[in-house]
């Protein structure tokens, strides 16, 4: 006798799928209700205080001055943020380069057979890693602004005219882009493309013939040739100015409703394409695979997002208008940088100078001047990140199997070459993901500049909302900015990571 389970459906309160979805929808509804209560409270609060939620502070004159940056007397809230963002990017980009270099050197030194060097690196890492970054930034700032030599006269600095180190700031010689820089940049970009082509060709030859065709050298020569020709021939690229002008004209003449339709259609199209591709990916030779809850949810979400996007574009003309205006602004910006008749060297060397506009001497604008606040934040985040990168590099090198080193030594490679050609390339693959995290941390850590009044987005945002009281809007802008930075940095790292990843067969 066999027991046959009755083939009835379970009742609805015992159906796993139903229960799961009920729980999820219930929790989501709870969170949404909480959010709604909070938002309505905030709106009631603002109404009671007579504050309105708007974005006018972005275009109104803010009535504040900034310590340093591209607009020290900004004319609008947008310029305030632009200044903060550029200041932040200055530290992020230069800090990433310096921290990577320093971190790799220290990480390798820690593994050195030289006892003194490895102990010194350990000392550096353990000191820097265990002190809060904020303490370090404030320390470097005060060290510069209180203890560096005073700015007494025109002959200031360890090397007058070349390097000026004072309490008011540090000034270095620097190569500054000139009026024609953007035109030259077109040639440089072309040089990069051509050099890539040359390297690939030479590598192919090397692989076919087995003879050293020096791909690196040839690529470099091609690049230098393009850059050198461009140095004088750059007015030719000025013709691009007409292209920018034409595009900007098109953007300006198409009516708003046209852009709304285009953007809304694009949102729906992208969602539809995603859904179809997703369905395709679930298709097996035997037909469409069984879709899980999760799959339906994803398709539903993609469709809903597409429709919501289209709805927003169609119903909120302001957003589309903003996008069109920003596009036009960018095109006009490029247009202004290109001119057929513009001549002269694209780059010029600027040396530090001391000027005395009033009674007291000041550092002139000709060199690259770093304020004490910049110095503090830059040195702080660079050393801090370098300490973490050093540990990552050390871990990556140790993770490369010892057999690789031994095989390299057996082939007669010297230690330097061994490190450069065998160990580091393999370690790099392990190092890259955590290194990307450190870059992200560095970008986020620049926000500590507020402690030394460095004009980065947080500091300028705080100054702005202290003036206008628009805390929520400023907070939204901060979130958007930092999330965008995270997104961009992590997609660069991910792209590079995919490129480096072992091709598995």
């Amino acid at each position: 006798m066999s027991i046959v389970a009755p083939q009835t459906k379970p009742p609805i309160w015992r159906n796993g799928t139903v229960l799961k979805w009920a729980a999820q929808i219930g929790v989501f509804a709870g969170v949404a209700a909480l959010g709604w209560i909070l938002v309505s409270t905030a709106m009631a609060n603002m109404r009671a205080q007579g504050v309105s939620f708007d974005w006018e502070f972005l275009t109104d004159p803010p009535g504040i001055q900034l310590a340093e940056g591209i607009f020290t007397r900004p004319a609008s809230g947008l310029e305030v943020f632009a200044t903060g963002i550029v200041n932040m990017l200055r530290i992020t980009v230069s800090g990433i380069v310096a921290a990577t270099f320093l971190g790799v050197v220290i990480g390798i030194s820690r593994l050195s057979s030289n006892w003194l060097l490895s102990k010194l690196s350990t000392f550096f890492i353990e000191t820097i890693r265990n002190i809060p970054l904020l303490v370090q930034i404030v320390f470097w700032f005060f060290l510069c602004s209180l203890f560096f030599p005073a700015l007494n006269g025109v002959d200031a600095g360890p090397i007058p005219g070349w390097l000026v180190v004072t309490r008011k700031g540090i000034s270095l010689p620097w190569i500054f882009p000139q009026q024609t820089f953007w035109q030259w940049l077109v040639f440089v970009a072309a040089g990069v493309v051509a050099a890539r082509w040359m390297v690939r060709r030479r590598v192919r030859q090397l692989e076919e013939t087995g003879q050293n065709t020096h791909p690196g050298r040839y690529g470099f020569l091609v690049f230098v040739a393009f850059a050198a020709v461009g140095w004088w021939a750059h007015p030719l690229a000025g013709a691009l100015g007409w292209v920018w002008q034409l595009l900007a004209g098109i953007v300006a003449t198409v009516p708003l409703i046209g852009w709304q339709l285009v953007l809304g259609g694009a949102a729906v199209f992208l969602a539809a394409r995603w859904i179809f591709r997703f369905l395709d990916s679930r298709r097996t030779p035997a037909g469409l695979a069984r879709l899980t809850d999760d799959d339906y949810f994803r398709m539903f979400l993609a469709g809903a997002l597409g429709l919501i996007g289209a709805g927003v574009f169609l119903l909120v003309p302001g957003l589309t208008d903003l996008i069109a205006r920003v596009t036009e602004f960018v095109l006009r910006f490029f247009d202004a940088k290109f001119d057929f008749l513009r001549t002269g060297a694209p780059l010029a060397l600027g040396r530090p100078s001391i000027v005395t506009p009033g009674r007291f001497p000041q550092i002139g604008p000709t060199g690259m001047t770093l304020t004490p606040a910049f110095f503090g934040v830059w040195v702080g985040v660079t050393l801090y990140t370098a300490a973490f990168i050093a540990e990552i590099v050390r871990g990556g090198i140790l993770a490369v199997s010892r057999g690789q080193t031994e095989a390299g030594l057996a082939l007669g490679l010297k230690r330097g070459r061994l490190l450069r050609m065998i160990v580091l390339p393999q370690a790099f693959r392990i190092i890259l993901p955590p290194m990307g995290n450190q870059y992200l941390n560095l970008a986020k850590n620049t926000s500590l500049g507020i402690a030394v009044a460095y004009a980065e987005p947080i500091q300028v945002g705080q100054t702005l909302f202290n003036q206008t009281g628009d805390t929520i809007q400023v907070f939204v802008l901060w979130m958007a900015f930092y999330l965008a930075v995270s997104l961009v940095l992590s997609s660069i790292v991910n792209w590079y990571n995919r490129k480096l990843a072992l091709v598995e067969r």
Binding site: A42, N45, P132, L146, N445, T471, L483
Partner: protein, 580 residues
């Protein structure tokens, strides 16, 4: 072509030379001058160390540095503006910690051992460091020579000791407890010999003695009762100590007894409902248990629509959660008993917590009551304790098979990880008040603890997720095969293994949380860093002592984080993470 040599026989490798045969010169040649490149590096390094350390020391020890302003400000660093006539409350807090530390030492007896050789070598290193420091310190006679003489004496003494001890130094060991006792004696000696903090000589002595007495009492108790119960009790006491210290001891709350009294019937009723529900749910079959749970769920939603004390509403939610979790934890009769005890304890704790949250503090101050190191500890420990459950929940949500939970957890984690902590702190400080009804706002410290916990939870969740992914799917399948529910599988099989695997990462997260607490200085809380950066350098007696205070802050944070990371390394070794 190179000649190929083939070994005729395999000889065992020669034993390495004895360490004592390797002289100092050999060591130098092997470690510092083993190749021309390394020799150059060594010379450059030595010159760099010499000039770097010399100028650094010259800067730190210059006549203009006013290190003497640090000791008189000790109370400011510790508690900042805390009422000076109520400092005994701080000492009571320290005493609570001392008692718990003593008890814990007696229960989890430190089993580690240190060899004499290591101790002597440590002392030798100390002497060498003193000698080098004295040599590098600029200036004439004075303390410099004293330091150098002490260093040289230590090196000679340890060399003699090592020669005398020889083989025994490697074998004979000192128990950690002896080292601990010696440390206490040394601390006592320093307290009484140094004049720097004479006002706290007696309190600190009392605290140390309290800890030792607690240890001895603990030994007595341990000998007579069940270790398991004691361990649970002490862990619970540690968790409770934080709210007790910061909500009761240090705030001196004015408790509205009549109001609390009016809650009692409701609290008692919910307690009994919870007990009954746990009993019913564990006894009845699944269908009827589900009915009980559904009734509780409906009741816990319903109480929000009738006029009833807020605490009863919270307790009803807790009762529902306990009833839902009962099948997971209270399957056996012993489990059911423990679970019921846990429920009563949670009721008491929630009652205590809500009562304390609703009472105003009894100590009158113009500014924030808490400050200094006190607040740094509160932020670090409170943030850690709160972020753990939240982080685990987020990790479970992110690895869940339910898409809405996964989307919500992933969204939260990625957004929080994408923004710097300072924006989140500003969110708590400036934005949250706008979303709350007028008049309802929390104290700055409370908000900072919550915000730090919310921030840290996102990072913690990623660490825990790593652990969850490291648990092999065979474990889950085995749990399923045993007939476990999803809840039992998660709580009894997956999570314990996942958490054990990521202990190093979790400690790293705690360390970075501790360092991150310094950011609250930016939003105006008087934590240790703000005291050192702003408050002390602006006092008349210590005006302008910025660099001194910053160096002090760096050293203090360094000592804490460095000891955390060393402790975590030991813990890692003891748990054998990564070696299995």
């Amino acid at each position: 072509m190179a000649e190929v040599r083939v070994a005729r026989e395999i000889r065992p490798p020669e034993p390495p030379p004895e360490a004592s045969q390797l002289g100092f010169v050999v060591w130098l040649r092997k470690n510092l001058f083993n190749s021309p490149f390394n020799s150059v590096l060594t010379v450059i390094g030595l010159v760099g160390v010499f000039f770097g350390a010399r100028s650094g020391l010259a800067f730190l020890l210059a006549d203009e540095r006013r290190w003497s302003v640090i000791p008189p400000n000790a109370t400011n660093y510790a508690v900042e503006a805390y009422l000076r006539d109520s400092l005994e409350r701080i000492w009571i807090s320290v005493a609570i910690v001392a008692v718990l530390a003593g008890l814990s030492t007696s229960i989890w007896r430190p089993t580690g051992k240190t060899s004499w050789g290591k101790v002597v070598a440590g002392l030798r290193g100390f002497g060498a460091a003193a000698l080098v420091l004295g040599f590098l310190t600029p200036g004439g006679f004075g303390p410099r020579n004293l330091i150098m003489i002490v260093g040289a004496a230590m090196i000679i003494a340890t060399a003699v000791a090592l020669r005398r001890l020889r083989e025994r130094a490697k074998v004979e060991t000192i128990p950690t407890l002896a080292v601990l006792s010696a440390a206490i004696v040394v601390v006592l000696a320093v307290i009484w010999a140094m004049p720097i903090a004479s006002s706290t000589q007696i309190p600190w002595t009392v605290m140390l003695v309290t800890g030792v007495v607690a240890y001895l009492l603990g030994r007595l108790v341990v000998a007579r009762s069940s270790l398991r119960v004691l361990k649970t009790a002490v862990v619970a006491a540690w968790v409770l100590s934080l709210p007790v210290i910061y909500m009761t001891v240090q705030r001196g709350p004015i408790i509205p007894w009549d109001r609390v009294g009016s809650w009692l019937p409701g609290i008692a009723a919910v307690t009994i409902i919870g007990l009954g529900a746990i009993r019913l749910v564990t006894r009845l079959d699944r269908e009827r248990a589900a009915l009980v749970n559904a009734a509780l769920l409906a009741a816990s939603i319903g109480v929000w629509f009738v006029s009833i004390p807020m605490i009863v509403r919270f307790l009803m939610i807790a009762a529902t959660v306990f009833s839902l979790a009962a099948p997971t934890f209270a399957a056996s009769s012993r489990g059911a008993r423990n679970f019921s005890i846990g429920w009563v304890a949670i009721v008491l704790f929630i009652t205590y917590f809500v009562t304390m949250s609703l009472t105003s503090r009894g100590l009158e101050t113009r500014v924030e009551l808490l400050g200094g190191m006190n607040v740094t500890f509160l932020l670090a420990i409170g943030g850690m304790l709160l972020s753990f459950p939240l982080g685990i929940m987020l990790a479970l949500g992110r690895t869940s098979t339910m898409p809405v939970f996964r989307l919500m957890s992933t969204g939260y984690i990625e957004v929080v990880r994408g923004v710097p902590l300072i924006t989140v702190l500003f969110f708590g400080d400036k934005v949250v008040p706008r979303f709350l009804p007028p008049g309802l706002d929390f104290e700055g410290v409370v908000k900072a603890v919550m915000v730090i916990a919310l921030f840290s939870a996102a990072y913690l969740a990623e660490n825990v997720r790593g652990g969850l992914q490291s648990v092999s799917s065979g474990q889950r399948e085995a749990a399923r095969a045993l007939g476990m529910t999803t809840g039992q599988m998660t709580m009894l099989i997956t999570l314990p293994q996942a958490l054990r695997a990521v202990i190093p990462a979790l400690v790293g997260q705690v360390i970075s949380l501790f360092k991150d607490t310094s950011l609250v200085a930016i939003i105006g809380l008087a934590d240790f860093f703000r005291v050192a950066r702003d408050i002390v350098p602006n006092q008349p007696v210590s005006l302008g002592s910025v660099i001194e205070n910053l160096v002090l802050a760096a050293v203090v944070y360094w000592v804490f984080t460095f000891s955390f990371s060393r402790a975590s390394l030991r813990l890692e070794r003891r748990l054998g993470v990564g070696t299995r």
